[in-house]
Subunit: 300 residues, 2 copies
Amino acid sequence: MAARLSSPEHYDSLLDKFDTWMFDCDGVLWHGDRLIDGAVEVLDILRKRGKRLLFVTNNASKSRKSYKGKFDQLGVEARVDEIYGSAYAAAVYISSVMKLPKDKKVYVIGMTGIEEELREEGVSFIGGTDPADCTLEPFSLTNFTLDPDVGAVLCGLDVHVNYTKLSKAFQYLTRNPGCQFLVTNEDSTYPSADGLLPGAGAISAPLRFALEKDPISIGKPAKTMLDCIQAKVHFDPKRTIMIGDRLNTDILFGQAGGLSTLLVMTGITLEKDITGPNASTIVPDYVTGSIGDLRAVKAL
Amino acid sequence: MAARLSSPEHYDSLLDKFDTWMFDCDGVLWHGDRLIDGAVEVLDILRKRGKRLLFVTNNASKSRKSYKGKFDQLGVEARVDEIYGSAYAAAVYISSVMKLPKDKKVYVIGMTGIEEELREEGVSFIGGTDPADCTLEPFSLTNFTLDPDVGAVLCGLDVHVNYTKLSKAFQYLTRNPGCQFLVTNEDSTYPSADGLLPGAGAISAPLRFALEKDPISIGKPAKTMLDCIQAKVHFDPKRTIMIGDRLNTDILFGQAGGLSTLLVMTGITLEKDITGPNASTIVPDYVTGSIGDLRAVKAL
């Protein structure tokens, strides 16, 4: 059973136990463009106590550099090398784990975040924000030329998803031998400022369904994301805590990596998901209402 | 094990056994705009022998009336009342089974076929081919007004599918109490003239994934389609045969309805799907290469 945190002593004890604090962002630090009350103060307290902060997001619509801009705009201190996004992790996976040959390329269903990270890693790609693919004009195989150099399809959240993109990706995945099916993340929904919208997992769902095949998923809860962080940063899993609002991504990710986990109730997860007859089987170590609750720690 | 048909005697025996012949169309009678060799002759033979012909298609992009135009164009004799499409069956289901109140409406992800059939059944709808929803402009909940009268979302093949349509459907299904999630059919792929493309099941897959909920499916293999035919036509299941190219729609549909089944190899199903180590558990009663093979029957 998860420990409910509520008193200053609880939060003090948490600060004693953990040196590295990994944060999900949407639903933990902010909702869309609205900061969660107290988030900035708590991050400041943690930094003053010498904690290492890492921001681990499945949001692939922005590159780390663009995501840094979001932190700046909301007045949240962060360095680019503290930010780990699923677009970055996907680009690293393609270049370093898959080792996609330099003469091969990726067909992208996704936004600028994926394109920027692929470019940084030196991975060639087509599709994405190309106006030729951002169209509702009818798609016909008669006018389509299969590019034999496409060795992977990478799909993330794409608000310009359409039948042309889905059809092209489907052709590559069924007709190019060995073409890999990758997704940045499989979040079923996306928390916009005004409510939930279909998430990255929904964007790749047509391909899963048409191919009758699951993709390789890069973001939380997949271990690929933690591998990517571990390649850059040394941390002791026993003294690391993952803080998130979603059981089947953040909390599962922390548990799979041997980290401790703190669930906040400011995002996706509802009280009925953690208590009652239909509660999830994913149980975090700790639960608190909001990240802002940690302001209750004793002043040094 | 399925009986392989090859001799004139086999086909004669089939004609003796069955009075009502239900045909899938795409992959059985034609591929896109190309007739399957011998299809017209075989349908003529069956009519001359006094057989009742029914055309049972999951294609919801056309209404029965428009679909009749396709028969005409390809020189295949058919009456509108012989054609049963999943758009028609969906409209009948909404008006007669769900009994959607007249002041309620349907949000449509789909094409003109669905709109025409809903209109014929007197069901109000929004979405569909409305230019306001056929857009790649960013979707924002800030500018969205939830219509409280939307009591169902109906999703079929839609080559103009986009994030606005998916987001609106998602809002209705999560925020309008009791809003039903219906799909015309769940074919994973669609056989265009030049090859396979993502099918209707792929179009509704984002909603299934985001909602973590299966829709009510109307087309083959669902019994709803057969209920719809039985409401209009009297036939004896024991003397009825369903002819199709797809095991998990056509053949399963026939079997679930107590009909006999004939698989043709001119469409989706490959030899390895019916023989060998990974063969499907769905086994038709009969298999033949092509509908055109039935030309081998003895002349009367």
